[in-house]
C-alpha cells in the first residue's frame, strides 16, 4: 500500500470498549527473509512513541516493522516512521569533528576537538564564571543523555542556563499541567480514546502530527458508538473534516472561545457540583470571569457564530466520557498557558479526569520531550522538583552529593529565549547546542543568525548532519543517532520505551551520551567529597541513577528496568499505572507541588508563603483568565494573520525526512495556504508565486488556495536552506517561515508564539503551469 497517499492505512473500526485491533505496518528495503536481525526500538518522528523493530542486514538498517504487542500502536506506523529511517544511511552524515579555522570548518580529530572544547570551557569559567555557559538541547535525545547533561550543567558547571528546544513544543503542556494539577505528567492513557464518547481537539492537528493516534481516533469515529468530535482549528484539517462541530476561529483567540464554552457549561448546569466542591479550588472566581463571556461576545472576538459555539458547548456538556486534547494551536499562540489551562477547566468542571475515557491530554510535540521535563533539562529541576522548595533542592543536592548552593535555584532556570537574549548582549559566551536547529526553528531568524554568528560567542553543535546551525558553529561534533545507540524515552501518555543499538554509527560519530561523559571527565567535575560527579559510564547505569533520583517522586522510574522494557510493550510510569489521579487527589499540596504557580495573564510567580497559607492540599486549581488580544494585530500594512505549523511528511527542519526519498518527494518545497475568500482580492490563483511579508522579513512560496479561514495564511515551518547553495541563510530567495515570526513568548510557559504574526501577500509571478508543493491529501486545493 502506498502510505504516502494513504497516510492512515487500512481502517480497522472498533466500538467503545472493544480492543483496538492489531495491524502490522512495515517497510523494508529487502525481502523479509534477508533480514538478519530485528532490534527493539520505538519511533522518534513524533511524540506518539510507537513501538517498532529495526531490521538489520550487513550492519545497516534495511527497514522497520511496528511492534504488534505495543500498547501505543498495536503494530501500526505512520509515514514518517515507515520511511524516515533511511536518513541514518544518508551519505552526507557527519563522520568527523569539524573545527572553525580561518573562517571555515575543517576536519579535526576527536582528541583535538575535545581539547579545544575543554580549553575554551575552562578559560571562560575562569574568566567569567558559570553564568557564561549555556546549553540548548533538544527533544530528540534519550532520557539518559538529558540526565547526564542536566547533572553536568546544574551541578558540574552550576549554571541556570540549560533548556531544550522542547521550550518551542512542549513547555506549555508542562506548565498547563503544573498550574492545574500541581505537577507535570499527563493524567490519562491512550486507551481512554477506546472508551470515550466525546473528543475535543483544540489546536491539535492530530491527523498530521500524530498519525497513529489519529488512526485510533478515526477507527473509533468509523466504528460502532461513534464518539462526537469537536475540533477548533483555523484550517480544514483532516480531523476538522470529520468533526460534528468545527470552529475555525481567528488565531490568537483561544481564551475567549474557551471562556465562552465554560460560560455555557456553568449557565446550563453542566458542572459536576460534587466533584468541584470536593476536588477543586477557585470555582467562584472562574464562574465570575466566564460570566462575561456569553457566546455572542466570543463569536465577535473569534470570528465564528454564537450558534456554533453553543453547539460545541452542548456536545461537551452532554459528554459522559470526555477526552480533550491540546497542541501547538494553543501552545504557540496568544495566551498559551492561560488557554491550555481553560481546557483543563472543561474536564475539571465536568469531573471528567482520572477515570476511563475521561481525561485531558496536554500533548507533547517531540518524541522525547517528556524526558527533558523529567530530567530537568527543560528549565525545570530533575524529578519534577520545585526550585523554590528548599527541601526539594536539599534532597536533590544530597542525592548528587553536592552542596545545595552549587545547584542554581535563586530564580527559575533560564528559558531558551532568554538564553539567546543573554548571548545577544554578550554575557553568555559559550553555547552548546545538541541536535537541534535554532537557525531555522526559532522566531525572527535574521536575529538568531546574527546572534549565532557573533565572534565573541563560542558555539558548539552536536549534529548528525551539517544543518544551518552547524554551519554557523565554531565546533561541530558528529553525533550518533537513533538506532546507533541505546537508551530510553517516554511519550505523551507516560509510556517508556527502550531503543536498543542496532547498528554502528558512521565514521567516527559518537553518541551524545559518550560526548557528555568525555567532557565531564576532562573537566574533572566532582562531588563534594572529590569523587567524580557522574557515577555512571553506560546508559543503563545512568538509567539506574535516574531511578534513584525519581524514587518517590511523581515520575517514579524506580520500578522499571532495561530488562523489563525489553521484549514486550512499552510501560507507563509510575509502575505501569494507566491513569494518574484515580482518587482525585492532585499533586498540589505545598510540600509536593512542582511550582507554586503563576498569574496566568502576567506570568507573575505566586508567593510561597501565600501558597502555603491557602494550601490546596490535593485539590486541583480552577484558574481563570481574561482574554487579552495578541500584540500584533493585522493592520493596514499587514492585513493578514500568519500561522505556521507542521505537515504530515516532515519532521522539524527536514534534517531526517528530506533524506527519505518518499517523504521528500511528497512535500519537496515550501508552500503558502491562502483562503478562497481572500485570493480574488489579492489577485492570486493556485500555484502563483507569492511573497509573504511581515515587519521582520519576507518569504517566497507558491500559493495553495484552500479552505483555510479567511484572513489567515499558513506556512509550514520545515523549510530552511541546508539543501540550497550556501545553505545557512537565504540566498536570494527566503523560504523559512521563521523569517517572519515575532520574538514574543508566553508569560508563563515562555513558549515562543509562532502563530500570531501580521503579514501581507504580494503576487510575484503567475503559476505558469506550476502548482504548490502542498500535499493534496491534507491541504485540499479548492
Amino acid at each position: 500500500m502506498d502510505r504516502i497517499q494513504r497516510i492512515w492505512g487500512e481502517p480497522t473500526p472498533f466500538g467503545s470498549g472493544e480492543e483496538w485491533s492489531q495491524r502490522v505496518d512495515a517497510h523494508l528495503a529487502v525481502a523479509e527473509s534477508e533480514v538478519e536481525r530485528w532490534v527493539q526500538s520505538a519511533c522518534v518522528l513524533c511524540s506518539n512513541g510507537c513501538g517498532l523493530d529495526i531490521a538489520v542486514k550487513g550492519g545497516r538498517i534495511v527497514g522497520v516493522r511496528g511492534r504488534v504487542e505495543d500498547r501505543v500502536n498495536h503494530g501500526r506506523l505512520g509515514p514518517k516512521g515507515l520511511y524516515g529511517w533511511q536518513a541514518n544511511n544518508s551519505p552526507d552524515r557527519l563522520t568527523r569533528p569539524l573545527l572553525r579555522r580561518d573562517g571555515a570548518l575543517q576536519q579535526v580529530s576527536w582528541e583535538e576537538a575535545m581539547s579545544v572544547l575543554v580549553a575554551r570551557s575552562q578559560q571562560l569559567l575562569g574568566e567569567s564564571g558559570p553564568l557564561s555557559h549555556a546549553f540548548y538541547t533538544t527533544g530528540q535525545l534519550f532520557l539518559e543523555e538529558y540526565y547526564a547533561l542536566a547533572l553536568i550543567a546544574r551541578a558540574g558547571i552550576g549554571t541556570p542556563h540549560l533548556d531544550g528546544n522542547t521550550r518551542l513544543c512542549t513547555a506549555t503542556a508542562e506548565w498547563a499541567l503544573i498550574e492545574s494539577f500541581g505537577c507535570d505528567g499527563n493524567p490519562g492513557s491512550y486507551t481512554d480514546i477506546d472508551v470515550c464518547d466525546t473528543l475535543f481537539l483544540i489546536g491539535h492537528n492530530v491527523s498530521e502530527t500524530q498519525t497513529v493516534l489519529w488512526m485510533r481516533m478515526l477507527d473509533r469515529l468509523q466504528g460502532a458508538d461513534r464518539p462526537r468530535l469537536v475540533v477548533v482549528d483555523p484550517r480544514p484539517t483532516p480531523a476538522a473534516r470529520e468533526a460534528d462541530v468545527w470552529l475555525p476561529i481567528r488565531n490568537g483567540t483561544n481564551v475567549a472561545l474557551l471562556n465562552a464554552l465554560l460560560h455555557e457549561l456553568v449557565a446550563n448546569g453542566r458542572v459536576d457540583r460534587d466533584f468541584v466542591a470536593e476536588h477543586t479550588v477557585g470555582y467562584e472566581a472562574l464562574a465570575e470571569t466566564v460570566e462575561h463571556y456569553p457566546p455572542e461576545r466570543a463569536a465577535e472576538i473569534c470570528g465564528v457564530s454564537a450558534h456554533s459555539i453553543r453547539n460545541a458547548a452542548r456536545v461537551l456538556g452532554e459528554a459522559e466520557r470526555l477526552v480533550s486534547t491540546v497542541l501547538q494551536g494553543v501552545y504557540q499562540s496568544n495566551q498559551a498557558t492561560a488557554a491550555a489551562v481553560q481546557v483543563n477547566n472543561v474536564n475539571l468542571l465536568r469531573g471528567m479526569i482520572g477515570k476511563p475515557g475521561c481525561t485531558v491530554f496536554q500533548m507533547n510535540g517531540q518524541p522525547t520531550a517528556q524526558n527533558t521535563r523529567e530530567t530537568g533539562a527543560n528549565g525545570t529541576m530533575p524529578g519534577f522538583r520545585n526550585f523554590e522548595n528548599d527541601e526539594h533542592m536539599n534532597e536533590l543536592a544530597a542525592l548528587w552529593n553536592v552542596e545545595p548552593l552549587m545547584i542554581p535555584h535563586w530564580a527559575p532556570p533560564t528559558h531558551a529565549m532568554q538564553m539567546f537574549r543573554f548571548a545577544e548582549e554578550g554575557s553568555i559566551k559559550f553555547l552548546w547546542i545538541n541536535c537541534t536547529n535554532p537557525a531555522v526553528s526559532l522566531p525572527e531568524l535574521q536575529r538568531i543568525r546574527s546572534i549565532l554568528g557573533q565572534e565573541r560567542l563560542f558555539v558548539v553543535v552536536n549534529e548528525a548532519f551539517l544543518t544551518e546551525t552547524a554551519q554557523l558553529a565554531d565546533l561541530v561534533l558528529p553525533a550518533a543517532i537513533w538506532a546507533e545507540k541505546t537508551g530510553t524515552f517516554t511519550n505523551a501518555d507516560r509510556t517508556v520505551h527502550i531503543s536498543d543499538k542496532a547498528v554502528d554509527p558512521p565514521g567516527e560519530a559518537r553518541a551524545d551520551f559518550e560526548i557528555f561523559l568525555d567532557y565531564a571527565e576532562r573537566m574533572g567535575f566532582s562531588d563534594k567529597d572529590g569523587a567524580p560527579l557522574l557515577k555512571f559510564s553506560t546508559p543503563e547505569e545512568a538509567f539506574e541513577d535516574f531511578k534513584r533520583i525519581t524514587a518517590g517522586r511523581p515520575c517514579d522510574y524506580s520500578t522499571l528496568s532495561y530488562e523489563q522494557l525489553r521484549g514486550g510493550s512499552g510501560i507507563q510510569w509510575p509502575d505501569g499505572r494507566e491513569r494518574l489521579y484515580r482518587d482525585h487527589v492532585f499533586l498540589t499540596a505545598a510540600d509536593v507541588c512542582e511550582s507554586y504557580g503563576h498569574d496566568l495573564v502576567s506570568g507573575a510567580e505566586n508567593d510561597q508563603d501565600e501558597y502555603r497559607a491557602h494550601d490546596p492540599a490535593g485539590r486541583a486549581f480552577l484558574k481563570a483568565a481574561e482574554y487579552i488580544p495578541s500584540d500584533e494585530q493585522p493592520n493596514d500594512d499587514y492585513p493578514l494573520l500568519l500561522t505556521t505549523g507542521r505537515s504530515v511528511y516532515h519532521w522539524h527542519t527536514r534534517t531526517k525526512t528530506a533524506r527519505a526519498p518518499e517523504l521528500d518527494a511528497a512535500a519537496p518545497e515550501v508552500w503558502a495556504e491562502l483562503a478562497r475568500g481572500d485570493v480574488q482580492r489579492l489577485g492570486v490563483a493556485e500555484g502563483d508565486l507569492v511573497a509573504v511579508e511581515s515587519p521582520r522579513g519576507r518569504v517566497e512560496a507558491r500559493a495553495r488556495v484552500c479552505g483555510i479561514r479567511e484572513g489567515v495564511v499558513f506556512l509550514p515551518f520545515h523549510y530552511g536552506y541546508w539543501d540550497e547553495p550556501d545553505g545557512s541563510a537565504p540566498n536570494g530567495r527566503a523560504r523559512a517561515a521563521n523569517e517572519l515570526t515575532i520574538t514574543r513568548w508566553d508569560p508563563v510557559s515562555k513558549q515562543p508564539l509562532f502563530k500570531v504574526a501580521a503579514v501581507r501577500i504580494e503576487k510575484l509571478a503567475d503559476a505558469d503551469g506550476n502548482t504548490a508543493a502542498a500535499p493534496e491529501v491534507t491541504a485540499i486545493p479548492s
Binding site: S128, L131, P160, E424, D599, A604
Partner: protein, 166 residues
Amino acid sequence: MNKIGLALRELYRAEEDLADEYVKAGERLAVEHEVYYACKRFAQQCHLHAETLRTFAVRYEEELPAADDDEVGETTTASLRHRVSELLGRRPESGLLLLRSLRQLYLQAQEVSFHWIIAGQIAQATRDQEFLSTVDRLHRETLTQIKWLKAQAKQASPQALVAASG
C-alpha cells in the same frame, strides 16, 4: 479641605506616574522582549486604574483629570529610545540598565500599593461596598505587578552583576 479627595488624588498621581515609567522603561528596554511586552500591558493597566479611580472620586467630591493613554512605542521620543535600546542591547552592560529600570518600577509600584491600602481603609470607613470591591480588585493587580517585577529582578541580577563582570 477634602482630605479623602486629596488621598485619592495622590493614588491617581502615583498610578499615572507609574504608567509613565512603564512606558519609558518599555521603550528603553525594547530589546528585552519579555519586559517590553509586560511594560506595555502594565502601562495600560495603570491608566485603567487611574480612570476607574476617577469615576469613584466623584463620590468624594474630587474631580480628577482624564487619565493619559500614552502607550509604549507611541511617545514622541519612542523611536529614539528604541534605537538607543538596540545600540546598548548588544553590550553586557545592558543588564545593569534593566536592573535600574526594574528598581525604579518596583519602588513606584510599592508606592501605588501603599495608596491602595489607604483607599481600602477609606472605602471601609465610608461603608462604600462597591468602592471596596473595586479597590480590592485593583490593588491585587498592583500586587501582581510587584511580584512580576520582583521575579524579573531575581532572574536578571546574577547575570547583570556576576556574569557580566568577567
